[in-house]
Symmetry: C2
DNA sequence: CTCTCAAAACTAACAGCATTAGTTATTATG
DNA sequence: CATAATAACTAATGCTGTTAGTTTTGAGAG
Protein backbone atom coordinates (compact mmCIF):
# COMPACT_ATOMS: atom_id res chain seq x y z
CA UNK A 1 0.00 0.00 0.00
CA UNK A 2 0.93 3.65 0.39
CA UNK A 3 3.28 5.15 2.91
CA UNK A 4 2.03 5.91 6.40
CA UNK A 5 -0.82 4.38 8.31
CA UNK A 6 -3.04 7.40 7.80
CA UNK A 7 -6.79 6.82 7.91
CA UNK A 8 -9.91 8.92 7.77
CA UNK A 9 -10.37 8.30 11.48
CA UNK A 10 -6.96 9.77 12.29
CA UNK A 11 -7.66 12.80 10.13
CA UNK A 12 -11.00 13.40 11.83
CA UNK A 13 -9.42 12.92 15.26
CA UNK A 14 -6.73 15.47 14.43
CA UNK A 15 -9.34 17.90 13.12
CA UNK A 16 -11.39 17.47 16.29
CA UNK A 17 -8.32 18.02 18.43
CA UNK A 18 -7.59 21.22 16.56
CA UNK A 19 -11.16 22.47 16.87
CA UNK A 20 -11.20 21.67 20.56
CA UNK A 21 -7.98 23.59 21.08
CA UNK A 22 -8.96 26.70 19.13
CA UNK A 23 -12.65 26.88 19.98
CA UNK A 24 -13.31 27.67 16.33
CA UNK A 25 -15.53 25.33 14.35
CA UNK A 26 -13.23 25.20 11.30
CA UNK A 27 -9.91 23.74 10.22
CA UNK A 28 -8.13 24.49 6.98
CA UNK A 29 -6.82 21.51 5.05
CA UNK A 30 -3.40 23.14 5.03
CA UNK A 31 -3.31 23.39 8.79
CA UNK A 32 -4.55 19.84 9.10
CA UNK A 33 -1.96 18.52 6.64
CA UNK A 34 0.78 20.41 8.45
CA UNK A 35 -0.17 18.77 11.72
CA UNK A 36 -0.28 15.34 10.14
CA UNK A 37 3.07 15.80 8.45
CA UNK A 38 1.78 15.51 4.90
CA UNK A 39 1.00 17.84 2.00
CA UNK A 40 -2.55 19.14 1.62
CA UNK A 41 -3.46 17.24 -1.57
CA UNK A 42 -2.63 13.94 0.12
CA UNK A 43 -5.71 14.39 2.27
CA UNK A 44 -7.81 13.76 -0.80
CA UNK A 45 -6.75 10.12 -0.75
CA UNK A 46 -8.88 9.75 2.37
CA UNK A 47 -11.60 12.33 2.11
CA UNK A 48 -13.65 13.69 -0.78
CA UNK A 49 -13.56 17.36 0.14
CA UNK A 50 -13.96 19.84 2.99
CA UNK A 51 -17.68 19.25 3.16
CA UNK A 52 -17.31 15.55 3.80
CA UNK A 53 -14.74 16.21 6.49
CA UNK A 54 -17.15 18.65 8.09
CA UNK A 55 -19.83 15.99 8.16
CA UNK A 56 -17.49 13.54 9.82
CA UNK A 57 -16.57 16.05 12.50
CA UNK A 58 -20.20 17.04 12.84
CA UNK A 59 -21.14 13.43 13.44
CA UNK A 60 -18.45 13.04 16.06
CA UNK A 61 -19.54 16.25 17.77
CA UNK A 62 -23.17 15.23 17.76
CA UNK A 63 -22.41 11.76 19.11
CA UNK A 64 -20.33 13.17 21.93
CA UNK A 65 -22.93 15.79 22.72
CA UNK A 66 -25.79 13.32 22.87
CA UNK A 67 -23.81 10.75 24.86
CA UNK A 68 -22.97 13.46 27.35
CA UNK A 69 -26.62 14.37 27.77
CA UNK A 70 -27.79 10.79 28.08
CA UNK A 71 -25.22 10.17 30.79
CA UNK A 72 -26.29 13.29 32.67
CA UNK A 73 -30.00 12.40 32.68
CA UNK A 74 -29.79 8.63 32.89
CA UNK A 75 -31.51 7.95 36.19
CA UNK A 76 -33.51 11.13 36.37
CA UNK A 77 -37.13 11.92 35.61
CA UNK A 78 -39.22 15.02 34.98
CA UNK A 79 -37.98 18.28 36.53
CA UNK A 80 -34.82 16.68 37.78
CA UNK A 81 -34.03 15.37 34.31
CA UNK A 82 -34.85 18.72 32.70
CA UNK A 83 -32.52 20.55 35.06
CA UNK A 84 -29.73 18.01 34.60
CA UNK A 85 -30.15 18.23 30.84
CA UNK A 86 -29.95 22.01 30.88
CA UNK A 87 -26.82 21.87 33.00
CA UNK A 88 -25.15 19.26 30.79
CA UNK A 89 -26.09 21.20 27.68
CA UNK A 90 -24.50 24.36 28.99
CA UNK A 91 -21.39 22.61 30.25
CA UNK A 92 -20.79 20.89 26.94
CA UNK A 93 -21.26 24.09 24.98
CA UNK A 94 -18.78 26.01 27.09
CA UNK A 95 -16.24 23.22 27.50
CA UNK A 96 -16.35 22.18 23.85
CA UNK A 97 -16.93 25.54 22.27
CA UNK A 98 -15.59 24.55 18.87
CA UNK A 99 -17.70 21.42 18.63
CA UNK A 100 -20.84 23.19 19.81
CA UNK A 101 -20.30 26.00 17.35
CA UNK A 102 -19.91 23.45 14.60
CA UNK A 103 -23.17 21.78 15.57
CA UNK A 104 -24.83 25.17 15.49
CA UNK A 105 -23.27 26.44 12.28
CA UNK A 106 -24.06 23.76 9.75
CA UNK A 107 -27.08 25.11 7.96
CA UNK A 108 -29.20 22.02 7.64
CA UNK A 109 -31.93 23.67 5.66
CA UNK A 110 -31.78 21.88 2.32
CA UNK A 111 -29.22 19.57 3.86
CA UNK A 112 -30.97 16.31 4.63
CA UNK A 113 -27.81 14.53 5.67
CA UNK A 114 -27.11 16.96 8.52
CA UNK A 115 -30.77 16.84 9.52
CA UNK A 116 -30.63 13.10 10.03
CA UNK A 117 -27.52 13.39 12.13
CA UNK A 118 -29.34 15.81 14.41
CA UNK A 119 -32.28 13.53 15.20
CA UNK A 120 -30.74 11.92 18.30
CA UNK A 121 -30.33 15.37 19.81
CA UNK A 122 -34.07 15.95 19.60
CA UNK A 123 -34.92 12.45 20.74
CA UNK A 124 -33.19 12.95 24.06
CA UNK A 125 -35.29 16.00 24.84
CA UNK A 126 -38.52 14.41 23.66
CA UNK A 127 -37.79 11.37 25.79
CA UNK A 128 -37.48 13.48 28.91
CA UNK A 129 -40.65 15.42 28.19
CA UNK A 130 -42.53 12.19 27.52
CA UNK A 131 -42.54 11.45 31.23
CA UNK A 132 -44.97 14.29 31.81
CA UNK A 133 -47.82 12.47 30.03
CA UNK A 134 -48.54 15.16 27.47
CA UNK A 135 -49.86 14.79 23.95
CA UNK A 136 -47.40 14.45 21.13
CA UNK A 137 -48.26 17.88 19.82
CA UNK A 138 -47.75 19.52 23.19
CA UNK A 139 -44.41 17.79 23.56
CA UNK A 140 -43.40 19.01 20.12
CA UNK A 141 -44.11 22.60 21.14
CA UNK A 142 -42.40 22.50 24.52
CA UNK A 143 -39.39 20.64 23.20
CA UNK A 144 -38.92 23.56 20.82
CA UNK A 145 -39.29 26.07 23.61
CA UNK A 146 -36.79 24.24 25.79
CA UNK A 147 -34.15 23.94 23.11
CA UNK A 148 -34.67 27.55 22.05
CA UNK A 149 -33.98 28.70 25.59
CA UNK A 150 -30.90 26.52 25.98
CA UNK A 151 -29.33 27.47 22.68
CA UNK A 152 -30.40 31.08 22.89
CA UNK A 153 -28.71 31.42 26.22
CA UNK A 154 -25.42 29.88 25.13
CA UNK A 155 -25.43 31.83 21.92
CA UNK A 156 -26.05 35.25 23.44
CA UNK A 157 -23.53 34.52 26.14
CA UNK A 158 -20.97 33.40 23.59
CA UNK A 159 -21.53 36.49 21.45
CA UNK A 160 -21.00 38.73 24.43
CA UNK A 161 -24.55 40.04 24.38
CA UNK A 162 -24.92 39.18 28.04
CA UNK A 163 -21.91 41.30 28.79
CA UNK A 164 -23.99 44.15 30.14
CA UNK A 165 -25.01 44.09 33.78
CA UNK A 166 -21.86 42.01 33.94
CA UNK A 167 -21.89 41.91 37.72
CA UNK A 168 -25.25 40.17 37.70
CA UNK A 169 -24.87 36.43 37.94
CA UNK A 170 -25.24 34.59 34.67
CA UNK A 171 -25.93 31.26 36.33
CA UNK A 172 -28.87 32.76 38.17
CA UNK A 173 -30.31 34.10 34.91
CA UNK A 174 -30.00 30.64 33.46
CA UNK A 175 -31.72 29.06 36.44
CA UNK A 176 -34.54 31.57 36.11
CA UNK A 177 -34.93 30.66 32.45
CA UNK A 178 -35.08 26.93 33.17
CA UNK A 179 -37.49 27.45 36.06
CA UNK A 180 -39.62 29.66 33.83
CA UNK A 181 -39.78 26.82 31.33
CA UNK A 182 -40.69 24.29 34.03
CA UNK A 183 -43.43 26.51 35.45
CA UNK A 184 -44.88 26.91 32.00
CA UNK A 185 -44.75 23.18 31.46
CA UNK A 186 -46.46 22.52 34.79
CA UNK A 187 -49.19 24.99 33.92
CA UNK A 188 -49.69 23.16 30.65
CA UNK A 189 -50.12 19.89 32.52
CA UNK A 190 -52.60 21.52 34.85
CA UNK A 191 -54.56 22.85 31.90
CA UNK A 192 -54.58 19.42 30.24
CA UNK A 193 -56.09 17.79 33.32
CA UNK A 194 -59.15 20.00 33.32
CA UNK B 1 -10.50 64.31 -6.63
CA UNK B 2 -10.37 60.80 -8.00
CA UNK B 3 -12.48 59.31 -10.71
CA UNK B 4 -16.01 58.24 -9.86
CA UNK B 5 -18.20 59.48 -7.08
CA UNK B 6 -17.65 56.39 -4.99
CA UNK B 7 -17.98 56.79 -1.24
CA UNK B 8 -17.91 54.55 1.79
CA UNK B 9 -21.65 54.95 2.06
CA UNK B 10 -22.19 53.63 -1.45
CA UNK B 11 -19.92 50.68 -0.77
CA UNK B 12 -21.76 49.84 2.43
CA UNK B 13 -25.11 50.22 0.67
CA UNK B 14 -24.02 47.85 -2.07
CA UNK B 15 -22.71 45.36 0.49
CA UNK B 16 -26.01 45.53 2.37
CA UNK B 17 -27.96 45.03 -0.85
CA UNK B 18 -25.87 41.96 -1.61
CA UNK B 19 -26.31 40.53 1.88
CA UNK B 20 -30.03 41.15 1.75
CA UNK B 21 -30.28 39.35 -1.57
CA UNK B 22 -28.23 36.31 -0.62
CA UNK B 23 -29.26 35.92 3.00
CA UNK B 24 -25.60 35.26 3.82
CA UNK B 25 -23.86 37.59 6.27
CA UNK B 26 -20.71 37.98 4.16
CA UNK B 27 -19.53 39.67 0.97
CA UNK B 28 -16.16 39.18 -0.64
CA UNK B 29 -14.34 42.32 -1.70
CA UNK B 30 -14.02 40.83 -5.18
CA UNK B 31 -17.76 40.40 -5.50
CA UNK B 32 -18.33 43.87 -4.13
CA UNK B 33 -15.81 45.42 -6.52
CA UNK B 34 -17.37 43.57 -9.44
CA UNK B 35 -20.76 45.00 -8.59
CA UNK B 36 -19.37 48.48 -8.23
CA UNK B 37 -17.47 48.26 -11.50
CA UNK B 38 -14.02 48.69 -9.99
CA UNK B 39 -11.06 46.48 -9.16
CA UNK B 40 -10.80 45.02 -5.63
CA UNK B 41 -7.77 47.03 -4.47
CA UNK B 42 -9.59 50.28 -5.24
CA UNK B 43 -11.89 49.59 -2.33
CA UNK B 44 -8.98 50.26 -0.02
CA UNK B 45 -9.15 53.93 -0.90
CA UNK B 46 -12.42 54.03 1.04
CA UNK B 47 -12.17 51.33 3.65
CA UNK B 48 -9.36 50.04 5.79
CA UNK B 49 -10.04 46.33 5.47
CA UNK B 50 -12.76 43.70 5.57
CA UNK B 51 -13.18 44.08 9.30
CA UNK B 52 -13.97 47.76 9.08
CA UNK B 53 -16.48 47.12 6.33
CA UNK B 54 -18.08 44.48 8.52
CA UNK B 55 -18.44 47.01 11.31
CA UNK B 56 -20.08 49.48 8.99
CA UNK B 57 -22.57 46.90 7.80
CA UNK B 58 -23.05 45.72 11.37
CA UNK B 59 -23.88 49.25 12.43
CA UNK B 60 -26.37 49.65 9.62
CA UNK B 61 -27.98 46.30 10.47
CA UNK B 62 -28.19 47.16 14.15
CA UNK B 63 -29.68 50.59 13.47
CA UNK B 64 -32.31 49.14 11.18
CA UNK B 65 -33.11 46.36 13.60
CA UNK B 66 -33.52 48.69 16.56
CA UNK B 67 -35.54 51.25 14.59
CA UNK B 68 -37.84 48.47 13.48
CA UNK B 69 -38.40 47.37 17.08
CA UNK B 70 -38.94 50.86 18.39
CA UNK B 71 -41.55 51.48 15.72
CA UNK B 72 -43.31 48.22 16.54
CA UNK B 73 -43.55 48.92 20.27
CA UNK B 74 -43.95 52.69 20.23
CA UNK B 75 -47.35 53.11 21.80
CA UNK B 76 -47.48 49.83 23.64
CA UNK B 77 -46.86 48.90 27.25
CA UNK B 78 -46.16 45.75 29.23
CA UNK B 79 -47.47 42.48 27.75
CA UNK B 80 -48.65 44.16 24.61
CA UNK B 81 -45.21 45.68 24.07
CA UNK B 82 -43.47 42.38 24.82
CA UNK B 83 -45.62 40.55 22.29
CA UNK B 84 -45.15 43.22 19.65
CA UNK B 85 -41.41 43.18 20.25
CA UNK B 86 -41.26 39.42 19.86
CA UNK B 87 -43.20 39.62 16.64
CA UNK B 88 -41.08 42.40 15.22
CA UNK B 89 -37.91 40.58 16.22
CA UNK B 90 -38.97 37.43 14.42
CA UNK B 91 -40.15 39.27 11.34
CA UNK B 92 -36.93 41.16 10.99
CA UNK B 93 -34.82 38.05 11.42
CA UNK B 94 -36.70 36.16 8.75
CA UNK B 95 -37.12 39.03 6.33
CA UNK B 96 -33.55 40.25 6.68
CA UNK B 97 -31.84 36.93 7.21
CA UNK B 98 -28.42 38.15 6.10
CA UNK B 99 -28.45 41.19 8.36
CA UNK B 100 -29.70 39.22 11.34
CA UNK B 101 -27.07 36.55 10.80
CA UNK B 102 -24.44 39.25 10.67
CA UNK B 103 -25.66 40.71 13.95
CA UNK B 104 -25.49 37.25 15.44
CA UNK B 105 -22.15 36.22 13.98
CA UNK B 106 -19.82 38.98 15.05
CA UNK B 107 -18.08 37.58 18.08
CA UNK B 108 -18.04 40.56 20.37
CA UNK B 109 -16.14 38.88 23.14
CA UNK B 110 -12.88 40.81 23.24
CA UNK B 111 -14.40 43.18 20.72
CA UNK B 112 -15.42 46.31 22.58
CA UNK B 113 -16.39 48.20 19.46
CA UNK B 114 -19.06 45.71 18.50
CA UNK B 115 -20.25 45.58 22.08
CA UNK B 116 -20.94 49.29 22.08
CA UNK B 117 -22.86 49.04 18.86
CA UNK B 118 -25.11 46.44 20.44
CA UNK B 119 -26.16 48.54 23.42
CA UNK B 120 -29.25 50.07 21.80
CA UNK B 121 -30.57 46.58 21.15
CA UNK B 122 -30.51 45.83 24.85
CA UNK B 123 -31.88 49.22 25.80
CA UNK B 124 -35.07 48.64 23.89
CA UNK B 125 -35.80 45.45 25.79
CA UNK B 126 -34.86 46.94 29.14
CA UNK B 127 -37.11 49.91 28.45
CA UNK B 128 -40.10 47.66 27.87
CA UNK B 129 -39.45 45.61 30.99
CA UNK B 130 -39.02 48.77 33.05
CA UNK B 131 -42.76 49.31 32.90
CA UNK B 132 -43.32 46.35 35.17
CA UNK B 133 -41.81 48.09 38.15
CA UNK B 134 -39.12 45.51 38.91
CA UNK B 135 -35.70 46.00 40.42
CA UNK B 136 -32.78 46.58 38.13
CA UNK B 137 -31.33 43.18 38.89
CA UNK B 138 -34.59 41.41 38.14
CA UNK B 139 -34.88 43.28 34.86
CA UNK B 140 -31.33 42.27 33.97
CA UNK B 141 -32.21 38.60 34.47
CA UNK B 142 -35.49 38.63 32.59
CA UNK B 143 -34.15 40.68 29.76
CA UNK B 144 -31.58 37.91 29.25
CA UNK B 145 -34.27 35.26 29.38
CA UNK B 146 -36.40 37.10 26.87
CA UNK B 147 -33.61 37.65 24.37
CA UNK B 148 -32.39 34.09 24.77
CA UNK B 149 -35.83 32.80 23.85
CA UNK B 150 -36.17 35.10 20.86
CA UNK B 151 -32.77 34.40 19.43
CA UNK B 152 -32.84 30.72 20.30
CA UNK B 153 -36.05 30.31 18.43
CA UNK B 154 -34.88 32.05 15.28
CA UNK B 155 -31.58 30.27 15.37
CA UNK B 156 -32.95 26.77 15.74
CA UNK B 157 -35.56 27.49 13.12
CA UNK B 158 -32.94 28.85 10.76
CA UNK B 159 -30.68 25.85 11.28
CA UNK B 160 -33.52 23.48 10.47
CA UNK B 161 -33.57 22.01 13.96
CA UNK B 162 -37.29 22.68 14.17
CA UNK B 163 -37.78 20.69 11.03
CA UNK B 164 -39.09 17.68 12.90
CA UNK B 165 -42.78 17.52 13.70
CA UNK B 166 -42.90 19.75 10.66
CA UNK B 167 -46.68 19.66 10.52
CA UNK B 168 -46.89 21.23 13.95
CA UNK B 169 -47.32 24.97 13.75
CA UNK B 170 -44.15 26.95 14.37
CA UNK B 171 -46.02 30.14 15.13
CA UNK B 172 -47.92 28.42 17.89
CA UNK B 173 -44.68 27.15 19.44
CA UNK B 174 -43.39 30.70 19.37
CA UNK B 175 -46.53 32.05 21.01
CA UNK B 176 -46.21 29.42 23.71
CA UNK B 177 -42.62 30.47 24.34
CA UNK B 178 -43.55 34.16 24.62
CA UNK B 179 -46.51 33.39 26.85
CA UNK B 180 -44.29 31.18 29.00
CA UNK B 181 -41.95 34.13 29.42
CA UNK B 182 -44.81 36.47 30.30
CA UNK B 183 -46.26 34.05 32.86
CA UNK B 184 -42.85 33.73 34.46
CA UNK B 185 -42.51 37.50 34.53
CA UNK B 186 -45.96 37.91 36.10
CA UNK B 187 -45.10 35.35 38.76
CA UNK B 188 -41.94 37.31 39.51
CA UNK B 189 -44.00 40.47 39.99
CA UNK B 190 -46.41 38.60 42.27
CA UNK B 191 -43.49 37.33 44.34
CA UNK B 192 -42.02 40.83 44.60
CA UNK B 193 -45.26 42.23 45.99
CA UNK B 194 -45.31 39.88 48.96
C1' DC C 1 13.88 -12.80 -2.79
C1' DT C 2 12.18 -10.27 -6.40
C1' DC C 3 8.44 -8.54 -9.32
C1' DT C 4 4.15 -6.38 -9.71
C1' DC C 5 0.43 -3.40 -8.78
C1' DA C 6 -2.44 -0.57 -6.26
C1' DA C 7 -2.63 2.65 -2.53
C1' DA C 8 -1.03 6.78 -0.99
C1' DA C 9 2.21 9.96 -0.99
C1' DC C 10 4.24 13.69 -3.93
C1' DT C 11 4.86 18.15 -7.25
C1' DA C 12 2.82 21.51 -10.20
C1' DA C 13 -0.84 24.16 -11.26
C1' DC C 14 -5.28 26.99 -11.17
C1' DA C 15 -8.78 29.78 -9.25
C1' DG C 16 -10.58 32.63 -5.62
C1' DC C 17 -9.75 35.22 -1.54
C1' DA C 18 -7.59 39.62 1.21
C1' DT C 19 -4.08 42.69 1.05
C1' DT C 20 0.19 45.70 -0.07
C1' DA C 21 3.31 48.46 -3.04
C1' DG C 22 3.95 51.14 -6.65
C1' DT C 23 1.95 53.56 -10.77
C1' DT C 24 -1.23 56.15 -13.58
C1' DA C 25 -5.21 58.76 -14.38
C1' DT C 26 -8.51 62.18 -12.96
C1' DT C 27 -10.22 66.37 -11.09
C1' DA C 28 -10.76 70.29 -8.01
C1' DT C 29 -8.40 74.24 -6.83
C1' DG C 30 -4.76 77.89 -6.74
C1' DC D 1 -3.51 76.15 -17.03
C1' DA D 2 -0.53 73.89 -13.66
C1' DT D 3 -0.34 71.44 -9.42
C1' DA D 4 -1.38 68.42 -5.89
C1' DA D 5 -4.34 65.30 -3.95
C1' DT D 6 -7.53 61.74 -4.63
C1' DA D 7 -8.80 57.51 -6.40
C1' DA D 8 -8.44 54.54 -9.84
C1' DC D 9 -5.14 51.06 -11.83
C1' DT D 10 -1.54 46.87 -12.40
C1' DA D 11 1.49 43.60 -10.33
C1' DA D 12 2.59 40.73 -6.79
C1' DT D 13 2.31 37.91 -2.25
C1' DG D 14 0.45 34.54 0.52
C1' DC D 15 -3.38 32.36 2.10
C1' DT D 16 -7.36 29.04 0.88
C1' DG D 17 -9.49 24.51 -1.68
C1' DT D 18 -8.92 21.52 -5.36
C1' DT D 19 -7.42 18.79 -9.70
C1' DA D 20 -4.07 16.35 -12.75
C1' DG D 21 -0.29 13.87 -13.31
C1' DT D 22 3.79 11.55 -11.29
C1' DT D 23 6.52 9.06 -8.05
C1' DT D 24 7.10 6.46 -4.04
C1' DT D 25 5.99 2.72 -1.04
C1' DG D 26 4.85 -1.64 0.76
C1' DA D 27 2.15 -6.04 0.71
C1' DG D 28 1.34 -10.23 -1.68
C1' DA D 29 2.38 -13.58 -5.70
C1' DG D 30 5.49 -16.18 -8.11
Amino acid sequence: MGAKGLTKEIIVAEAVAYIESTGQPVVSLHELARRLGIKPPSLYNHIQNTKELQYEIFQYAMDTFVANQKAATENKRKDEAVKAFAEAYHSFATEHKGLYRLIMSIPSEEDDRAKELAIPLLDTVVEILSDYGLTEETIAHWQRVFRAILHGFISEEDLGYFYYYKSIDLKKSRDIAVQCFLDGLHAEIGAAVR
